[in-house]
Amino acid sequence: MRFLGFIIVCLTGALLLYGTGEFPDWGDPNSPASIHLSDHYIEKAVEETQVPNLVTAVLADYRGFDTMFETAVVFCAGLACFLLLRDFSQKKERFYRHTPTGVILHVKDSKKILKVGKEFEHMDKDWVPSDLIIKTVCRILIPFIQIYAMYVVAHGDFSPGGGFQGGVIFGSSLILLAISYDLKTLVRRVKEKVFGIFAALGVLIYVGIGVICMFMGGNFLDYSRLAPLVPGDPHHIRALGMLGVEIGVGIAVTAAMAIIYINIVSEGRHDEGL
C-alpha cells in the first residue's frame, strides 16, 4: 500500500511538473493574467479609488464580494472549533494553591469548590511556576503589539497590510497573554461570549456596509454611494469604505483566532492551557 502511494505521488508530481512547462514566464507581459484586467487595475485604480496600495484596492473594492466570504470562512473556522471542541462539563479534580504558604491542594471531590481570591488561586495540572521576567516582558510588549496591529489595519490603504494581517497580529497578542500568564487570565479578562459576539460583529460590519450601499441606491459594496453619509472630500469615499470594511475583517479575525486557540489548547474546557 505504501509502495502504491509512493508511485501515485511520483506520477502526480511528474504531471504537475510537466504542466508547469506550459506556464508563461514570470512577469511575462503577454501572459493571460497581464493582458485582460491587470492593465486596468494598474492604470486606473488610484484614479478610481484614491487608494495608493493596489492590492488593497483590488481586495477590498474590485473584489470586495470575494473578501466578504473570506471573512465568513474565518468566522466559520472559529465557529467550527467552538462547536466541535467546546466542553461544558467541569473537570472532576482540581488543584489550588494557598497563596501565603505555597501549599498545593488537590481536590478530588467535584462538588467541593474553593473560593478563588486572595487566599487560594487556581493551578494547572501541569503547572510551571510563572516566570517573572517572561511575565514582565510580555506585559510591556503586548500594548505595543496591539497598537501595531491597529496601525496595520488603519494603514492598509497606503502600505502592505489590512484587516487579515492586523487581526491576526491582534489575536496573537491575546494568545501571548494566555501563554505568558495562563489561559485563565485571558478567559477572565475577555469573556467567551464577547469573543463570539465580536466574531459575528466583524462579519456584520462588512455585510452592513454593503447593505447600506444598496439602500443608498447603488450596487452591493459600491462605496461611492456612501458619500452623502460621510462628511469630507467625496473623492476619498472609496478609501473610507475600504477602511470600514477592513476594520470589520480585523475584528472578525481577532475574535476567531482567540476562539480557535482557546478551544484547541484547553480541549474546549477553557480552564488550563500551554
Binding site: G162, I169, S172, I175, I179, Y261, L274
Partner: protein, 81 residues
Amino acid sequence: MHWPIDLIVLTFVIFCAIAAISVKDLLGTAILFGAYSFMMCLLWAVMGAVDVAFTEASVGAGVSTVFFVAAVFRTSRRTKD
C-alpha cells in the same frame, strides 16, 4: 556579484518541507512548518508581493505554528508512521 537569493531561499523551502514530513517528533514538525512559512515569506518578498509576504509571516509563521503546538500539546508528541 549578484547573489541568486531566490534560489537559495527556494532550496531552504524544499529542505524544510522534506524535513517536516520525515521528522518523527510532531513538535519538531510544527517548528519546521514555521521555518517553511518564513522561507516562503522571504520568497514572496523577493518576488515583490509584499502583501502576501506579510500575510504569510503573520498567519503562516506566527499564528498557525502556535495552533500546531497547541494541538500537539493536547494530543501525542510522537507519530506512529
